[in-house]
Symmetry: D2
Subunit: 338 residues, 4 copies
C-alpha cells in the first residue's frame, strides 16, 4: 500500500500517520520527492480497516498495491481449474453449452425441453423453479415441485441440472434433490450470507455477475465462497448495465480475457440475459466463444412464444440446434471443441 | 399497452398477434397510420407474461402505458404518508436526521455515540451489527450481541434504532430486540425473499436504492414489501454507480423530487455512503434537504479515525452538531423544520 | 407518435392538447381506455419541435413510434451497402483489417509501419497526424507534414490511408493529400459543424461512436453526414464508458448485430481503443468478427514500446501477423473471408 | 509515479524498465516488499509518453501520484478566482443566475425574454443563436442574425450575454458582436481545436461538462483553455449520463464541492438540461446552491409551450421570479447572497 501525503501536511500530522501505520503492525517507508512525500507500507495491507488511513489529516490518497482476492486468483493457482460435473469437464478444452428454459413450468414442458437440449448436443441443462422477478405480481416460479419436474426430465435425458438458489432456507431441498450446479443470480451476487452458505457446500456454483459489479467485486464475491471452503466456482458474465437503451444489457466480452488472466476458474457467458432478445443470441454466443469463454448458459424452450417468462429471449429447438453447429465451427477455429 | 407492428408483417402474422392478445383476456384496437400500424390493448396489461408479445413475428415494439407499481404510487394514495416511529414522524414537515456509527463496536462506543447523536439534536439512531462487506477477510460486524449494545445505548438516550437486516434467519432476533426500523441495504434491494419477509412484519422499513437500480426497479422493490402487507416504507437514496471515479458514488438528487411525485412514501438520503468522505457530507446533506428530502442517514463516530469500518466517512460529534445547525437554516429557508 | 393523457387532465386541457396537435399539421386520434386516454398522431411526427407536447398540462408522456433516422436506415435501403475504396470493398463478404500506428511520428516509422501492415495481409492503413489528447501538455501529433510522411509510406506499399480529421479548417489539406477515408473521432461524434462539412465531401467517412453515445445518437450523427450528401459512412464501435475500471472501455459487441439490423452501412470495430491494452486485442478482435463486424481498426507499431503515444496498446509486426492468421480462421468459420 | 513490478519479472526485464525510466530523464527508486517490488519515479512524470512504461514486460501497473492539471488547480492558486463580467462578479459571495431562452427565435421574443430575466432579478442572460441538435432535420438555430437580436434585446435591459460557440469559424463574429461570455457546450468539451482557439481570446468562457466526462477530463479540458492564455473559465455542471431513464440526466451535485476543492475557478450548474423538465428546475436549483454552486444557467421563455426547442424545460416569467425568491432564502441560509 502506498500513501500519498498532502503537500501541506504538518510534521505533527506526518508523525501521527506513521504512528498509526505502526499500530496496525505495518512498517512505513518514507520517500520524499520534489512534489510529494510518499509512504510505502511493508506487511500485509489487508489487515488495515477500510478508510483507516484515509481519515487522517496528513493523507491525500491511499493506493493499494496488492489485489484483495487470494484463493480465486492466478497468483494462488496458475493453472486452469477444470470442474467436473458427473464426468463433464467445465473449464478445459471442451466448451459446454448449458441450455434450457427460463423457468420450470410443467412436467411435460421439462420433458420436451430436456429432449431438445440433449438432441442439440448440449451436455447440461438449466431451468429455474424459483424466479427473481422485478414485480411481485408476475409469475414467481412453480417452487419446490418444480425441482422434481426438472430432476425427472433431466434424468431421463441423462443431463446434470443447473438451477438458481435465492434463499438460504432452500439449501436442504437443493441437496435432497441432488442439484448438480447451484446458480447464484445477478441480484444475489453480493448476498453475502447466501455466498457463505454455498461456500460450505460440496456442490459447484455458477456465480453470475451483478448488474453493475466490477471485476474486482465479482472476484471478491467468489472469494467469499472459496474462503468458506467451496473452490468449485464458475463465473458467468451476463451483461452489464450501461446508459444504452437499445438492448437490455451490454455483454461485456472484455471481461472474459481479463477474468481468465486474473483467476484460474472457468468463465462462461449468458447471451440470453445479456441481449434480452432471441435474435441476438447467435451473434453474442459466437463472440463469447471467440473471446475465450469456457461455455454458455442459453435459454431455450419447446415453444418460445408460450413460455411463462422471457418469451422473447428463448431459442426454439431448431434455433438451438443451428446455434450448436455454428459454435462448433468457431470452437474449431480457435483450437477448442464443443 | 401499445404494440407497434412491423411494416413488413403479413396478414397472417397480424391475425396471430390479435388472437394472442385476446387469449390473454385483452381487447385489441387497431389503428392504421401512414407508416405504422399500432395496436392498443384494452384491459389490465399487467396480466401479460413478460416478453409474450415481443416474441411474435408481427411485433416491432411493445410500449407499456401503465406504471407497474400500485400500492406505493401517488395514484393509489395522493397524500403524503407520514410514518410514526415511537411518536417521531418521518415524511411530514419535520426533517429527521438519523445518525450513528457505521458499525456497532463496543458497549462503550455505542454509549458515547448515542450521547453525541442525542446532543446534536437527532431523534433517531443508526448502527450496524451485521455488515455487508465486499471482502470476506474484513470485519463482518459484531453480530447478535451488537444489537444488545445498540439497544442499551439507544434506550439510555431515548432514541429509536435503525439497523440493517441481511438474512431472513435473523428476523426473530430483530423482533425480539425491538428494532424500531429495519434497513434493507443496497445489495439486498432485489433480494426478493427478504423483501417478502419484511413485507409480513409490522415494523417500518428503510429501503436503500440498489447501486444501479432505476427508479422503477426501486419502486417495484417497495411494491414487494407493500404487496405482502407492510406499507410503512421509507426510500433511502444513497448514491448511484456511474463512470466517475473521483468519488465513490454520485448522489442522485434528481431522484428526490421524482420519487416524491411518483410515491406517497417518505424519501431520505444517505450522504455518507453517497460521497464516501466525511468532508463531502455537509454539502451533500444541504443539497438533499434543499431538494426536498424528508431526512438523512448520517454516519457519525465518537472518534472517526478509530472506527472499525468506513473511518473516512464518519463525522465527529462536533461535525455532527455543526451540520445540524447548518441544516436547520436550510430547513427554515424551505419552510420546514429540523 | 402516441400521447398518454394524465388521468386528472381537464376537458379544457385536453382540448388545448388537440388544438396544438392540429396546429402542427397532425391529426389526433383519441382512444379512451379504462385507466388512461391515449392520443395517436397521424402525420409526420418529425415536424414537432422537441418538447412541444410534453410542455402541455394534459400530457403525461409522449412516445415516438417512428425512428428519427432515415437515409442510414434499413427501411430506406434494405440491402447491405458496400463502400469501395480504391477497389477494396468494405461491408461485403470480405473483412478488412485497417492497421497502423496511433500517430504518425517520422518518415522512417511510417515506412516501416506500412511494410509491416502490408506484410501481415492488411489492405488499408491507419495513422494520425493530428491527435486528440486529453492533456494540452502531451504530444499533439506532428501535424501537416505528418500527412506527407503517411501518404508517401502508404503509396510505396500500395495501401489506401485512413486518418482523423478534427478541425474543419484542415479539410482542404486532407483533400489535397488525397486522404482515402476520413475518420471522425469519438470526441467529435456530435461536432455537428464538422459532420456537416464531411457530409459535403466525396470521401468515405469512418464515424467512431462517442464515449457514451447511444445507438440512436450514433445513427443520427451519421444521418447528419448523409443528409448533407455523403452516403459513404462506416460505423466504428470503439468501446463505451461504463463503471468498470479494470479496462479502459467496454467493447460493445451487441452494438454490431443491432447496427447491422438498423442500418445498411458497414460496421467495423476498434479493439485497440476499446481494451486499451495490446494483450486484449486478439480476443476482442476475434469476438468482433464472430459477432459480424465488417472489419477492424487495429493499432500496430514497428516497436510498440517506443511509440510516441498509446505504447501499451499497439501490436508488434509479429503480433499483427499472428492476429491476421487467427482472424482468417474465424472468418472462414462464419462463412466470410479475410 | 509509482510502478508496480510483476512478481514473475526477470532481472533482465527489471533492468530494461530501469533503463527506460532513466532515458525519460527520471530517477528510479526501487523498494522491494515481501510480495511486490515497487519503483518510485523522481522527477516530472508528466514528461512520460502515455503507456510508455505500461508496455514493458516487467510492469504490472503504473500509478500516477501527481494530478495532470496545473493552471486550473488549487495547488497553483489557493484563493477563489472571481471573474468580473461588466462589473458583475462570478465566483464570489454573490450568486449569479443566468437565465434566458434555449434558442434565439425573434427580436420580439428576445426583447420580452430580456425584460422577464431582468424583472426576475437576474444579472446576466443566456440564449443560443447556433444550436447543437441531435437531428439534422430539426431547427438548428437562427444563426448570425440571432446574435443581433440577442445583443439588442440584452443591451436594452442592460444584461451581459452568454451564448454558445460551436465552430471556430464563428469566433470573429462573436468578437464583433461583443459576446460577453462564450459557452462551450457539452458535446464540444473535448473539441480540442475549439478549446485552443477560445484559449487565445480575452473573453470569459463557460465550459460545460461532457455527457460522461470525468472530473479529471473536465479539468484537463479547462487546462487546454488556460494553457493557451485564457484563465477566465467557469465550469458548468449540467447532468451526467447514467443508466437511469426516468429523467434525462443525473445532476451531479457531488461534483460541486469536489471541483471547488480541486480548482480555484467558479462552478455553476445548469438544472434545466440536467433534469430536462421545467417542474424539476426549482428543486435542482435549490440543491445546487445549497451544495455550494456559484450560480446557475436556467432556461426561461416568455411562453414556454411556444418555444422552438426544449419547450418542456423552460420556466415561464412567473416561475423564474418565484425561483429567484426561493433561491434568495437558500443563499442567505448558507451565508451568501443572490
Amino acid at each position: 500500500m502506498i500513501v500519498i501525503v498532502k503537500p501541506q501536511a504538518t510534521a505533527e500530522q506526518m508523525e501521527h500517520l506513521l504512528e498509526r501505520i505502526r499500530q496496525y503492525g505495518l512498517q512505513p517507508m518514507v520517500s520524499t520527492g520534489s512534489e510529494r512525500t510518499v509512504v510505502g507500507l511493508l506487511g500485509d495491507e489487508r489487515l488495515l480497516p477500510d478508510g483507516a488511513l484515509e481519515s487522517l489529516p496528513a493523507v491525500e490518497q491511499v493506493m493499494p498495491i496488492l489485489k484483495p482476492y487470494k484463493l480465486v486468483s492466478r497468483e494462488f493457482k496458475s493453472t486452469d481449474t477444470v470442474i467436473e460435473v458427473r464426468g463433464i469437464p467445465i473449464g478445459g478444452r471442451q466448451i459446454q453449452v448449458i441450455a434450457g428454459p427460463c423457468s420450470v413450468e410443467t412436467p411435460e414442458q421439462m420433458r420436451s425441453s430436456a429432449e431438445a437440449v440433449k438432441a442439440a448436443g448440449c451436455r447440461l441443462m438449466r431451468g429455474g423453479a424459483f424466479k427473481p422477478r422485478t414485480s411481485p405480481y408476475t409469475f414467481q416460479g412453480v417452487g419446490d415441485e418444480g425441482l422434481d419436474y426438472f430432476r425427472t426430465a433431466a434424468d431421463a435425458a441423462g443431463l446434470p441440472i443447473v438451477t438458481e438458489l435465492m434463499d438460504v432456507r432452500k439449501i436442504d431441498l437443493f441437496l435432497e434433490k441432488g442439484v448438480d450446479i447451484i446458480q447464484i443470480g445477478t441480484r444475489n451476487m453480493q448476498n453475502f450470507d447466501l455466498l457463505k452458505e454455498v461456500g460450505r457446500l460440496d456442490v459447484p456454483v455458477i456465480l453470475k455477475r451483478g448488474l453493475s459489479a466490477t471485476i474486482k467485486e465479482w472476484l471478491m464475491a467468489a472469494e467469499y465462497i472459496a474462503a468458506h471452503g467451496n473452490h468449485r466456482i464458475i463465473f458467468a458474465e451476463r451483461g452489464i448495465r450501461t446508459f444504452e437503451t437499445a438492448y437490455r444489457n451490454v455483454l461485456d466480452v472484455t471481461a472474459i480475457p481479463v477474468l481468465k488472466r486474473e483467476t484460474h476458474l472457468p468463465v462462461i457467458v449468458d447471451p440470453s440475459h445479456a441481449g434480452g432478445k432471441a435474435w441476438l443470441v447467435p451473434q453474442l454466443s459466437k463472440a463469447a466463444i471467440a473471446a475465450g469463454a469456457d461455455g454458455l448458459l442459453v435459454e431455450s424452450h419447446p415453444c418460445p412464444e408460450e413460455a411463462w417468462c422471457d418469451a422473447d429471449q428463448a431459442l426454439s429447438p431448431e434455433q438451438l440446434t443451428t446455434l450448436m453447429g455454428d459454435l462448433r465451427r468457431i470452437a474449431e477455429a480457435i483450437g477448442r471443441e464443443l
